[in-house]
Amino acid sequence: MAGKRLGKQTLKLSSPPSVISNAAIVGPKEGEGPLSQYFDQILTDDYFGEDSWEKAESKMLKEAVKSAVKASGRSNTNIDFMFAGDLLNQIVSSSFAARELQIPYIGLYGACSTMAESLCMGSLMIDGGFAEAIVCATSSHFCSAERQYRFPLEQGVQRPPFAQWTVTGAGAAVIAETGSGPYITHATIGKVQDFGIKDANNMGAAMAPAAVDTITAHLNETGRRPEYYDLIITGDLGNIGKAIILDMMQKEGYDITKVYNDCGSMIFDSEKQDTHAGGSGCGCAAVVLNGYIAKEMKKGNINKVLLIATGALLSPTTTWQGESIPCIAHAVAIEKTIGVGV
């Protein structure tokens, strides 16, 4: 092996790919939230002109890819691969979008960890010299996710106070061999963790241990301190998961309080928007990364980010059968400049 691996889980990219463009599309509710100024497109209608929410979700993903590709100054034909995934059964949002886009496609299932997972896999492919430019994308839709994982909206079920709100949104990023940054410098691949939580409404608490495991592995293996980063941000743990993370990281010997935040906590104003524990879903990390983080990095307000996207690897069937929720977290380090040393 060419010494690209630090420890068991962390990969150091020897020629870090550059993130050359981003796109974030969100639904109406996300557009009313605190991050609305960072999104490229805010839908006025959850259906996005389609006749089902599933079609609307796939269209969001497709439009996000198209606008990221356009912003990169390329066309679909000179994007080598598309890495994408989503929450719907058989990742249909991504596959149906790929059917239209005609970019060679690798479908991923990592639930809500897909944004980090796709960036990890895309970066490896570029670093390996197999591709010059790759688009990574993911999406989620509140209404299609409720129908699949909880209850159809028509049933009018009440949400418990610890429930999170699936983000309606899609994000896409084009990464390329050459570019002026920010660069993806490291990727840390997570291990599946399961602390026995069975309630599909309580994802934040279920996913927190997976995030802690991956953050700890990343810091230990790179030898970095939390303060190295301007922002350590988890994908969609929400307000409850966020509190658990700070507590658990403390026990691991890392105080990340100053630099830590969570996309799910940031995307909604849970007081005003009645979203209870915050946002969740593949789209949550995707739109915060491709909207807020991308634009703040461009402005120079944030220079070093560790994004840890967390995914709950359950299926509706396993929930009905009373199984607990296995979870995973993948991390990518995104840095404005390529630093020296580790």
């Binding site: 509710k29 079920v157 309630d199």
Partner: protein
């Protein structure tokens, strides 16, 4: 007075449902099934009729009322047609409610599309 009684009885049944949802991990579907079953059992042991006599529609409209009708119909049919009535009576007496729910549900799906929660 009838309105007040119906309000109190119906309201009390809904409070029980809300408490079950807030304090236990029961899903709404399970609360629904529990209510129908509870109504049927309470009628079977002769309690629910008294609640209906007191609260009227306040007791028959909630889901427990559906269980009550099932049990009542089954018991009536057993008296009239023998033991087989236990299987036929319940559905006979609730046929109007079931057919109505299917019919109006179907009409609503033709007229409206579901909307997202706000």
């Amino acid at each position: 007075m009838d309105y007040l009684k119906a309000f109190l009885v119906g309201g009390a049944i809904c409070v029980i449902g809300q408490l079950l949802m807030d304090l236990t991990k029961l899903t709404p579907a399970r609360v629904l099934v529990a209510f129908v079953t509870a109504g049927a059992i309470l009628q079977g042991i002769g309690i629910y009729q008294a609640i209906v006599d007191f609260g009227g529609a306040g007791a028959t409209t909630p889901l427990t009322g559906f269980g009550y009708s099932l049990a009542k119909g089954a018991m009536k049919e057993v008296k009239e047609a023998g033991l087989l009535g236990a299987f036929t009576g319940g559905l006979k007496s609730t046929a109007g409610g079931i057919a109505g729910a299917i019919f109006f549900g179907y009409i609503m799906t033709l007229l409206f599309s579901p909307k997202s929660k706000k």
